[in-house]
Symmetry: C2
Subunit: 485 residues, 2 copies
């Protein structure tokens, strides 16, 4: 009987009520069994333990158990604990049923999911990964952690940014987040910004965070080089802007240095917080990255980073490099709302970064993505009236055409293929020429990618053609037809 | 040279500018070195790799490197990679300095921290814990996870509630959260509640979440049995109420069954969401727990649970059992804002629960806490004019006295002891009799607890006394002097 866990049965004895204590105990156990809390076959607490738990004599419990044994609710088998009768009706023994809209409700899972944003994750859980978690799990947990996150991870992020982004920043400006969206929420909370400019087109997922926070969303126009800084509002500017200078989302244009300086000058003049979404920057494989905006201005720019793309969204871990004036406010938010990333996860990510695991993984993935990008260009070349713009160093491509966007996407879905609508990247009504879809080439197997590309090709127009505007695989990277930059 | 990581130097070549390409490369490397991005002693990319990265001929890079070698910026050592000269001034070689308000800014750490809310964590990182993380780290990460969380963890939470709380619920009502406060945020988001009733006194940390969300906070009166349901507002009721029926915080009163039914009847009548904060319930060691409110009404009550107290706050993991009508709304919030708990953490917690690790740990901790509770009662017995109310099964005690609250707490702080002000538990002005402090006896070592108790005793009044209202260690649990329940 030693191994039966300590008692935590919700039995309430009412010493002023009519029924005897043994009867009350027996009735409670009958009720708990019938309602499924105690299951057929499960041992009940020892009479000694239950007596202590209820504050009654052991004899009282023994009387109750004897009654239940006589009634067949309990069975006593020589050499093992007294248990709920395993022969009780199955209805009582079954665990709670998962209803039709159950725990793993199918959310219309496509056969091949080419929606953008997912990296290839097959090789993440390798030896370096397992070693990092082993180290993290062996460390003591009862340590005091600063509000911005575990210093070891923040130092590793600094080193990561230095090596992969050429960006030198102080660790006391780095805050650990649960990823890009949580980082954006944190910045909005800390800055109090309620009126936010976003690139149009831009990330729908970040706009959804703004919607959830009831922010006013202002569209900022972009062209093939990214944000058009001459059109930034000079009167009543927003409190914050979210920009993707490394490669504008989804078309991939890089913000030129003169626009970068103009944006920062404008932000300083109006006191606007610039939120630099540095997504995928570490994955560039086709050209030289420009320095992060945040490296040019430590007072006005917050850099939003995540390991969702370089590693896996399953990690739910990222970081923000804060402008100095927001450090105290972010600490206050974390103090009130808590740090969502477990210390074990923070240690494991730090260990994985410091061991070079992430650098090696990123290097492998760059090779895979470079190959896949070429595969995409080759597979979709020469389709009449179709422009294919693979991102310069990213994980997705944009396909544009002059047909009805919805009917093409629906046709793909009928064939088991999920892609994202290009129209949904606009906050405002997209220009007429902006019909098409966006698809990711990171998150699927080689075979699924090949099949997906064949399906897209067949759906968009059959035979290869040498007329029109072919997106040749031999063009320089970054110079796909609609991307003069 | 094979082991040098793939190049990610932020070098931008301008083919239209005056300087030759080798000169531009050399100047960029000088700049990166001087600014600390490249460090003394660090290898530079191979000429082949950098040439490929920049899209120039290998000869161009070799010319640049030769120039830098001649200038002494680089050194070439036979048999190893060309590197930044390790003799460069130390100023360039140093990693970014942590400023005075550094990464681990000391937040006035007390010598003995008896502020409530922290469990004893010394034994958490044991063999079961490490095994759970090992299993979790070996699992693939590229799997699709439902918006409410990994089904394995949600099933383990159901089993945990069944065994430790006698509460049977369906797994499709369980959502994984990053802890109690994140769970509350999630419920507020999903329900849209902006006008929330809280017990007075009550958890300051949950009130801070409401403040951060700009909610209207209404005080609900309590007495020694918890919420006074006869005083619930019948006109203009709040949209949600947060209650602690298992043991009211901080005094520990248990909400009687008639009040529970009255609360639920009131909530149903007015459509009020009841948020049941079930903190510490699994840790009860001194009396029978009443069933969770949520087990009485699956349509009106959300149960807020966390592993911060049963295990460690470092886990940043908890759960909510949702009323059925909120399931879809919570899924929508998670879809927009993301799941903050990493899949590895979710798997590890599930594994730890399923392996019985948490049940065994809880059992050990119950013994420790029961012993410590008796130690607290004994150590502080017989102080004139002082009432000590250790929680019935919790991790903290309330100390009340007729002296100035602030001066006592300050006197303790001068002796290196941190406790929480009882006055801060009130949203409104506390009644005059409610002066004192709250201290936790979970989170410190045996020696620190003994020293802390001696310090409290000495500060509150020196010699033991047999007059006044002694809190005898021989009284029944839960019947401390000011707690008639």
């Amino acid at each position: 009987m030693r191994q039966v866990p300590e008692v935590a049965l919700p039995i309430v004895l009412d010493r002023t009520a009519g029924g005897s204590l043994p009867n009350q105990i027996a009735e409670s156990i009958r009720h708990l069994t019938a309602s499924g809390v105690l299951r057929a076959g499960e041992p009940v607490p020892s009479s000694r333990a239950l007596a202590r738990h209820l504050g009654v004599s052991r004899g009282t419990v023994i009387v109750a158990y004897d009654q239940l044994l006589a009634e067949g609710w309990l069975v006593a088998i020589a050499g093992s604990a007294t248990s709920i009768n395993p022969q009780l009706p199955r209805a009582w023994a079954a665990p709670p049923a998962v209803s039709a809209r159950g725990a793993s409700r199918p959310q219309e899972v496509p056969r091949i999911d080419l929606r953008p944003g997912r990296p290839l994750q097959d090789e993440v859980a390798g030896p370096s990964w397992r070693a990092a978690w082993r180290v993290a799990a062996a460390a003591p947990v009862g340590v005091s952690v600063p509000l911005l996150g575990w210093p070891g991870l923040r130092a590793a992020v600094v080193e990561h940014l230095r090596r992969l982004r050429g960006f030198n920043c102080e660790p006391d400006r780095v805050a650990v987040t649960a990823g890009g969206r949580e980082g954006l929420s944190l910045l909005l909370h800390a800055s109090g910004a309620k009126d936010v400019g976003v690139e149009d087109p831009g990330f729908p997922s970040l706009r959804r965070v703004l919607h959830r926070r009831n922010a006013i969303i202002r569209s900022l126009p972009t062209d093939d080089q990214g944000l058009v800084t001459t059109k930034l509002p000079e009167t009543e500017p927003p409190e914050a802007v979210i920009v993707t200078p490394a490669h504008q989302y989804p078309f991939g244009g890089t913000l030129h240095i003169d626009r970068r300086l103009a944006l920062l000058e404008w932000a300083r003049r109006h006191g606007v917080l610039v939120i630099e979404d540095d997504y995928d920057s570490e994955l560039r494989y086709a050209s030289e990255p420009l320095p992060a905006l945040a490296s040019l201005d430590a007072d006005q720019v917050a850099l939003l980073g995540t390991f969702s793309k370089t590693l896996t969204p399953a990690l739910a871990t990222g970081f923000v490099v804060l402008p100095r004036h927001l450090v105290a406010a972010v600490e206050a938010v974390r103090g009130d709302l808590g740090q969502p990333v477990s210390l074990v996860t923070q240690r494991a990510v730090a260990e994985y970064l410091a061991s070079g695991g992430l650098a090696r993984h990123t290097q492998r993935m760059r090779r895979v993505y470079r190959r896949r990008r070429n595969q995409v260009v080759a597979a979709l070349a020469g389709l009449t009236g179709v422009r294919v713009s693979p991102m310069d160093g990213g994980l997705h491509a944009v396909v544009q055409f002059d047909r009805d966007e919805r009917s093409v996407i629906d046709a793909l879905r009928m064939q088991g293929l999920a892609v994202a609508s290009l129209g949904e990247y606009w906050a405002s009504e997209p220009p007429g020429s902006q019909r098409g879809f966006v698809f990711g080439f990171g998150g699927v197997s080689d075979a699924d990618l090949a099949e997906g590309l064949a399906t897209i090709r067949a759906t968009l127009g059959g035979r290869p053609s040498t007329i029109g505007r072919p997106a040749s695989p031999h063009r320089a990277p970054g110079a796909a037809p609609d991307q003069p930059s």
